[in-house]
């Protein structure tokens, strides 16, 4: 497992690792105005790394994320749109790991999985 990136703020942290065929992005805390400063770049870097490393899947682990605001959701949407437009040979799947104890995740991920149908899957833990 190789660490690709790590971000730590007072109320938010993110880590990005490469593990075999996956890139795994783990978020903790609150994805609000503080996190949003990093989101666009983080997802841009994940997209570049995913293509460079030839992974088949990017996992986004939200289980420890308490909330995501609409500005951060927009950055996720922009990223998913990039994935959708990526040529098939370099395209990868996106798997969200969510928690039953965070009901907002079911609601937000339902909308995102409709937006990027065929690319996004949601696993509830």
């Amino acid at each position: 497992m190789t660490e690709l990136a790590k971000l730590t703020e007072t109320t938010f942290s993110a880590s990005v690792v490469h593990d075999a065929k996956d890139i795994i992005v783990r978020f903790t805390g609150n994805a609000d105005v503080t996190a949003q400063k990093h989101f666009e770049r983080l997802f841009g870097d994940v997209h570049d790394q995913a293509r460079k490393l030839g992974v088949s899947r990017v996992q986004i682990d939200l289980r420890e994320l308490m909330f995501m605001n609409s500005s951060c959701i927009k950055d996720v949407i922009v990223w998913l749109e990039k994935v959708r437009k990526t040529e098939e040979a370099q395209r990868y799947l996106v798997a969200f790991l969510s928690s039953r104890s965070q009901p907002w995740q079911r609601r937000s991920l339902h909308a995102l999985s409709h937006f990027a149908r065929g690319i996004v899957s949601v696993e509830v833990c």
């Binding site: 609000d32 909330f67 605001n69 609409s70 500005s71 749109e81 104890s101 009901p103 907002w104 909308a111």
Partner: protein, 169 residues
């Protein structure tokens, strides 16, 4: 004789100086504060989504140094169950009032909230500044109705959810 509507029970009435950095703090406080009253984690989550998005909008678009913004949370019983109301009032910068009216109209007019939210998502992917998603998210994800009242210089956006005996709105 028609039923007399039950009075609103105010859970919280808070005046505050809008600050984007404090929005999550207020949302978390409200989640804890309302949990024993709502006694429904999913309803608390819907309230949290609406509160967060409304407070962020108030923080982004208020006139600096104007009167404090106000957050009011109330609940009342009607014939179909309970209604939870989140009202956020602020003094918006005049140049944002037209945008606010247009955004609320664009979010509330479509009959299908989920379909409208998908269209807002497509638009968000093409936008430069801002997401334009906050109010559409309240309607679709939090399943709450929205209403805007302008009483110059104040603008008040109210999000309402029906829950309890009558089911979700």
């Amino acid at each position: 004789m028609p039923n007399k509507p039950e009075p609103r029970s105010t859970l919280l009435d808070l005046s505050f100086t809008p600050s984007l950095e404090q929005v999550s703090t207020v949302r978390r406080f409200l989640e804890e504060f309302c949990q024993p009253v709502l006694n429904d984690p999913d309803m608390v989550c819907r309230m949290a989504i609406a509160t967060h998005e409304l407070l962020e909008n108030a923080s982004k678009y208020s006139v600096e140094g104007a009167a404090p913004s106000r957050l009011q949370v109330s609940i009342h019983q009607n014939g179909h169950g309970k209604e939870l109301s989140i009202r956020v009032s602020n003094v918006p910068a005049p140049e944002h009032v037209g945008d606010l009216k247009a955004t609320v109209a664009g979010v509330t007019e479509p009959e299908d909230a989920a379909q409208a939210y998908q269209l807002h998502m497509v638009a968000a992917a093409l936008r430069g500044e801002g997401s334009g998603l906050g109010l559409a998210r309240i309607r679709a994800e939090a399943e709450m109705s929205l209403a805007l009242t302008i009483n110059e210089p104040y603008a008040c956006v109210e999000a309402v959810a029906t829950f309890g005996d009558g089911g979700e709105s």
